[in-house]
């Protein structure tokens, strides 16, 4: 009786389907329709090129602070592909590839990055939340969204993205506990990209993995190779099925890496070694997935070259459109809109006063 062991029965696994060396585990290979695989690849490529192009527009001063996703495309597309448009997508701030998959026009993303509120409007037909900047603060929303879906008789799940750093926030803890207590159909997808700005994963928390934090809430957790789009797809499909069947939430930790700077305001050379970045570049999810698709006969070198051209045009067209929109959206009075559904009198007064001030040519 004295010092008795308490059996916890935890089991934590690491899932990998396609290794960086191209070894494929046929048993775990998820069944994905060919055109879905092609769409996944095209979106990853598009997102990568979009990231690069946006970065140079930012360097030219055409866009504001950017948050690159380079290196995390597999974690995001692998997580989005199993979901339906009416499932809830709850992004953090680095989910550009996921947003593209979820029907967000490139021009809207660029418009947002150019500092226009209008860019944040989610696309019709998709249950996408806009970006959430305060780290971890969006996690509880995914619990409420999932609860509401079930409550209204729906079968939707809510998938929320957050980073390794976000696991230190109180909202992460409170939200996972709520989800477990109410068994909501929520998927907690942590992109462990090894860094929270300058803070490495090991300094963020002392636990061996982030996935195991799920156990503190009596929730299943799994760790996945986040640069292996097939593994992420498999893990999220599994968790989604559990959630739709009423078996509650899951925490999925994707091991990935931020190949670029934290934001365009950040200088990573102050805190991390180039060599570490090089190491991870070898695990780049994009070429790995391309090799797989080529071996499966779904892709060819020249198909890729074709696609590169298409994608480049698509991005340029989007930038053209964005610039046109920037011209249409010059009216500052719109900053009073959408604060409340109906504009209260004092806001109308403030708006009208601004209008009057703007009428005479400024001195």
């Amino acid at each position: 009786m004295p010092r008795t062991d308490i059996e916890l029965g935890y089991r934590l696994q690491f899932l990998s389907v396609l290794t960086e060396h191209g070894e494929l585990d046929r048993e775990l290979e998820p069944a994905i329709a060919d055109d879905t695989l092609r769409r996944m690849h095209r979106t990853m490529l598009l997102a990568r090129r979009f990231d690069e192009r946006a970065l140079n527009l930012q360097r030219q001063g055409r866009l504001g602070t950017l948050i690159p996703a380079k290196g995390q495309e597999a974690s995001q597309i692998g997580a989005m592909a199993p979901l339906n448009p009416d499932d809830w997508f709850v992004p953090s701030f680095r989910e550009t590839p996921a947003a593209i998959w979820r029907g967000t026009p490139l021009s809207a993303l660029l418009l947002y990055n150019a500092g226009y509120n209008e860019g944040g409007k989610p696309p019709q037909g998709w249950n996408n939340l806009p970006p959430s900047v305060p780290v971890g603060s969006q996690i509880p929303h995914a619990v409420g969204l999932a609860y509401a879906a079930r409550q209204q008789g729906g079968k939707q799940v809510a998938l929320v993205f957050f980073g390794d750093g976000a696991t230190s926030e109180g909202d992460f803890h409170e939200a996972l506990n709520f989800a477990a207590v109410f068994a909501t159909p929520t998927l907690f997808l942590c992109q462990n990209n090894h860094w929270a700005i300058s803070i490495p994963r090991e300094k963020q928390t002392r636990s061996k993995t982030l996935a195991e934090k799920a156990f503190a809430y009596g929730m299943p957790g799994i760790q996945v190779d986040g640069n292996d789009v097939l593994a992420v797809y498999a893990a999220v499909s599994e968790a989604t099925e559990r959630a739709r069947n009423g078996d509650g939430p899951t925490l999925v930790e994707c091991i990935t890496y931020r190949l670029s700077m934290h934001t365009t305001a950040d200088d990573p050379t102050r805190y991390r070694k180039e060599q570490e970045v090089e190491e991870w570049s070898k695990r780049d999810p994009l070429p790995r997935f391309q090799r797989y698709l080529i071996e499966r006969g779904l892709l060819s070198e020249q198909a890729i070259d074709e696609m590169e051209k298409e994608v480049a045009h698509e991005i340029e067209a989007a930038w053209e459109e964005t610039q046109r929109k920037m011209h249409d959206h010059t009216d500052p009075l719109t900053l009073f809109e959408h604060i409340y559904r109906e504009m209260p009198p004092y806001l109308r007064e403030q708006r009208d006063a601004l209008r009057r001030r703007l009428e005479p040519p400024r001195g």
Binding site: W88, N117, E118, G120, K121, P122, L129, P130, S132, V133, P134, S137, Q138, I139, P140, H141, A142, V143, G144, L145, A146, Y147, A148, A149, Q151, Q152, A158, G170, D171, E174, A175, N177, F178, V181, F182, E337, H338, I339, Y340, R341, E342, P344, P345, Y346, L347
Partner: protein
Amino acid sequence: MAKLTVVQALNLALHQEMERDASVVVLGEDVGVDGGVFRVTDELLARFGAERVLDTPLAESAIVGVSIGMAIAGLKPIAEIQFSGFSYLAMAQLENHAARMRWRSQGRFGVPMVMRCPYGAGVRALEHHSESKEIYYAHTPGLKMVIPSGPRNARALLAAAIRDPDPVVFFEGKAIYRAFREEVPDEPETLPLGKAQVVREGDRLTLISYGAMLRRTLEAADRLAQEDGVEPEVIDLLTISPLDDETLAASARKTGRVVVVHEAHRSFGAAAEIIARLVEKAFFHLETPIRRVTGFDTTVPLFAREQAYLPSVDYIVAVAREALSD
């Protein structure tokens, strides 16, 4: 028509709104089995079930954060924070998200939720159970801040808050929870948010107050009428933000003398904004400085001294006489 306390009136509003609209849900600590520590949510669980009346874990930020998600997806959550002194734990969710989601999504997603909190001093409670920090919410664009003063308007305003398409912070004065009863119609009733009420017509002086302090303000008005033979006009704000400055200014223009009463700390409190609006809209009608009768800029003391902290009827009367005398 029944004579109800504020607690009963709020409970009635919750029952009727949940009856009326299946998307209304209630969540918070002890709101279910226990019926709320003040019994405001009494019998809701038995009547509407655990799917719609959630006894939550002890986590204010999540109570509000989860409510935000629920509201975006089509529910109308009513989140109870057990005491307003603990609502600051949800400040980030309110400011960062509840208040901004409609704007951030450019109209795609509203957050029709209510955060209910008992607030205020006067019930001999523990530390953190006597605060009146409505300013935190009133100064936050995207939120509405409502504080009823009695059973009938409490019921009508809570119903209106629940039906409002935007997030409403709803403070309930503990000191008036059971202090008195009022006739409350059986039929559902609402009052428009953003409208103040002239609750006593007058001419020589305007007394502006809200929440639990309205009663003392009305008592002071009676005293002034009896002892000084003046007829003070008394205005009940009901909604702190959006502030109904037109009603306030109209009265100030008429009387030229204004005293604002609230139990919140004086500095950077609601009275300051009321004064600023009246200076903007009625300055040349003011015959004397607008005066403030408020709680002090101190921590609300433990209960042995809370009455010294709170504006007393004597204090209101004394300041009103000053205002009348010059």
